[in-house]
C-alpha cells in the first residue's frame, strides 16, 4: 500500500482503537494488527503525532507495580474519525468512477 495512504489510515486505526475506552500501547497494537501491519516502532511516532495534534491525551497509571501510559481520545480525535468516514465516502465515489472507466 502507498506509504502516505497507510500513514493516514494508521492514524485513524489508532484513534478508533481508543475510541470506546482508554487503551495502552501494547493493547492498541494487538487490536489493530489483524487489519493493518503495525509494529511498536511505527506506533510510537503515531502516538506522539496524535498527541501533539490534540487528538488524544496521555495519562500515566500504575499497573502491576509499574507505570503504564493510557491514551484517551479527545473531542477533536472523535471528530477526526467522523471526518474520515465522510472522506471515505468521497473516495468510494472516486473508486467507482475509476473502475467504471475501466469497464467501458
Amino acid at each position: 500500500m502507498d506509504i502516505q495512504l497507510k500513514r493516514g489510515l494508521l492514524d485513524i486505526c489508532v484513534l478508533s482503537a481508543i475510541k470506546s475506552e482508554d487503551s495502552y500501547g501494547y493493547q492498541i497494537i494487538k487490536d489493530i494488527k489483524p487489519y493493518v501491519e503495525i509494529s511498536e516502532s511505527t506506533l510510537y511516532p503515531i502516538l506522539r503525532r496524535l498527541e501533539a495534534a490534540d487528538l488524544l491525551t496521555v495519562r500515566t497509571a500504575e499497573h502491576n507495580g509499574r507505570l503504564r501510559k493510557y491514551y484517551h481520545i479527545t473531542e477533536l480525535g472523535l471528530k477526526r474519525i467522523e471526518d474520515f468516514k465522510c472522506e471515505w465516502q468521497e473516495i468510494i465515489g472516486i473508486y467507482n468512477f475509476v473502475t467504471r472507466e475501466e469497464e467501458k
Binding site: Y24, G25, Y26, Q27, S39, E40, S41, T42, Y44, P45, L47, R48, R49, N64, R66, L67, R68, K69
Partner: protein, 203 residues
C-alpha cells in the same frame, strides 16, 4: 538481549537528541517490553520482537523537527560565565562577520543559479523577438520593392524562431535540473546536521 541492555543501547543510540524525547521513547519501549512479558513472552523474545535499535533510533530522529535539533545543539550544557560572555562579545567582529560571509556565499550561489535560469529564458525571449521582427520586416521590404533582401531577413527570422523554441526547451530542462539539484543540496545539509549530532555524542 534482555530489557535493561536494550534500553541502554537505545539510550546510547539516541544520545544527542533532546532529553525529553529520549526519556519518552525509553518509557514507551520499556512499557512495551513489560507488556509483552506479561502476555507470556520470555524477556529475550519480547526484546527481539521490538526490532532493530538502529531503525528505531532513526525513526525517532526523523520525527524530531530540525529546528529542535539545532536548538539542542546550540544550547550550552551549562550557563555561560561572565568571562565567556565577554569573550563572545569581544569576538563578535570575527564570528559575526564569518557567519555573514557564510550566509552571503550561500545566497550568492542561489542568486547565481537563478541568474543562469533567467539568462537562458532571456536568450530564448530575444530570439523570439528577433524572429518575429525578421518575418515582419519581410513584409516591409516587399512593400518597398526589396523582396530579395527581405526574403533573406525573413529566413534569418525563421531560424531565430526555431532557435527560440529550442532554447525554451533547453531552459526548461536546465531549470528542472537546477531545482532538483538545490533540493538535493538542502536535504544533504539537513542530514549532515543530524549525523553530526549523533557522532559528536558517541565519541
Amino acid at each position: 538481549m534482555i530489557k535493561q541492555e536494550f534500553l541502554k543501547e537505545l539510550e546510547k543510540a539516541l544520545c544527542g537528541l533532546p532529553d525529553d524525547d529520549i526519556q519518552k521513547s525509553l518509557e514507551f519501549y520499556s512499557e512495551m517490553i513489560d507488556d509483552k512479558i506479561e502476555d507470556g513472552l520470555s524477556e529475550e523474545d519480547a526484546v527481539s520482537q521490538i526490532g532493530n535499535i538502529e531503525d528505531i533510533a532513526k525513526q525517532i530522529l526523523s520525527d524530531i523537527p530540525i529546528t529542535k535539533l539545532v536548538k539542542q545543539k546550540i544550547k550550552p550544557k551549562r550557563s555561560m560565565g561572565a568571562g565567556e560572555i565577554i569573550l563572545l562579545i569581544l569576538g563578535s567582529p570575527i564570528w559575526l562577520s564569518l557567519i555573514i560571509a557564510l550566509v552571503a556565499v550561500v545566497f550568492s550561489i542561489y542568486v547565481a543559479l537563478w541568474s543562469v535560469i533567467i539568462s537562458l529564458y532571456a536568450v530564448s525571449a530575444s530570439l523570439l523577438v528577433c524572429g518575429v521582427a525578421g518575418v515582419l520586416s519581410f513584409v516591409g521590404f516587399s512593400i518597398l520593392g526589396n523582396a530579395v533582401p527581405g526574403a533573406f531577413i525573413a529566413g534569418a527570422g525563421l531560424v531565430c524562431l526555431g532557435l527560440a523554441i529550442f532554447m525554451f526547451i533547453v531552459s526548461n530542462l536546465v531549470t528542472k535540473a537546477l531545482v532538483w539539484l538545490s533540493k538535493k543540496i538542502w536535504l544533504g545539509i539537513k542530514s549532515s546536521f543530524i549525523r553530526r549530532g549523533e557522532n559528536n555524542e558517541k565519541i
